[in-house]
Assembly symmetry: C2
Homo-oligomer: 188 residues x 2
């Protein structure tokens, strides 16, 4: 793995764990085993490197989510597969985490990949739900966009509750709760 790649991956990890404000160039360099000059040769500075790392994390999240959502089965099965994805619950969402960071939200450049990821996710979830309505697996009066937002929010909020509790339990409960609600309405 070359230096530029190591820098990007290290930045992804540190942004995930400590956020933008809590991540220093020095920490990135140490984790990537790269020198000061090396980092500033490959990237213009902290925001430039962070942007590369955020874009990478966004791509990865989309690809992983698509595995669940683009698979076979009923709409409900695909949503459940998304909800039950393997997750490092206490670490939280590598992309959602960034939405909490003041410096990322203040910069349109840094915020854009985060914005796009969640727009894509809500749109993709809504497609699956609309598909379920079309196939009569879900009731006709279900609103795919609103429900998609709810599903995405339960996951992101589940992380918050889990981190507050230092336990995955509230996350699991929140997921189970929405699964049961969707299951209940699907039996017309």
């Amino acid at each position: 793995m070359d230096t530029s790649e190591r820098l990007i991956r290290s930045t992804q990890e540190l942004l995930w764990d400590r956020g933008y404000v809590g991540t220093s160039p020095k920490a990135i360099q140490q984790r990537a085993q790269a020198g000061q000059g090396s980092m500033y040769h490959h990237f213009k500075g902290k925001p430039d490197l962070a942007l590369a790392a955020i874009r990478r994390s966004a791509e990865e999240l989309r690809a992983e989510s698509e595995v669940a959502l683009g698979g076979g089965g009923t709409a409900l099965e695909r949503i459940e597969k998304y909800l039950r994805r393997e997750r490092d619950v206490l670490r939280g969402c590598p992309v959602g985490r960034l939405a909490q960071d003041p410096d990322i939200i203040a910069s349109d450049d840094l915020r854009q990949p985060v914005h796009e990821t969640f727009d894509w996710l809500r749109h993709r979830l809504a497609e699956v739900l609309a598909d379920g309505v079309a196939r009569d697996e879900l009731p006709a009066d279900l609103d795919p966009e609103d429900t998609a937002a709810t599903v995405a929010a339960v996951v992101q909020g589940g992380y918050v509750l889990a981190r507050a509790a230092s336990s995955p339990e509230p996350f699991e409960r929140a997921i189970d709760g929405v699964r049961k609600l969707l299951g209940a309405i699907s039996q017309h």
Copy 2:
């Protein structure tokens, strides 16, 4: 308002907007119009002052939530009242925000009020839901604990989606989505 009080309130605001990592004693002092020595006279240091501010924010959040949840009406009406509380959506939740902060999660002392707040909220929501089941307003097979976690998570996750989008819209949608799901199952 005395100096100690001004320091606490300023810290609450800054923790809300910038998190623990992003909040410096200097910024707190300037916002509180207090000098360096003044702050270190009233508090042992940044963690001590932050703890006081976090506890205050936790109390306030509980009190405000209780207004909605402890009011009259059916269980569903009380949950909806909680969901529709006036909120500064793009600013996020003053307590939930802290669950994202690595230094807060790493410290049992600082994390405790955050933990307690969400434990209380889930428990209180579950009580209201269980009440609705007992009164036959909600179906007997509804799981109050899981559903309570879902409701709390939708709100916290709604903030994440809204901040990512720089718009309250995804928050409103997520709330509407869960309201409609609860409404649908309540018509047995």
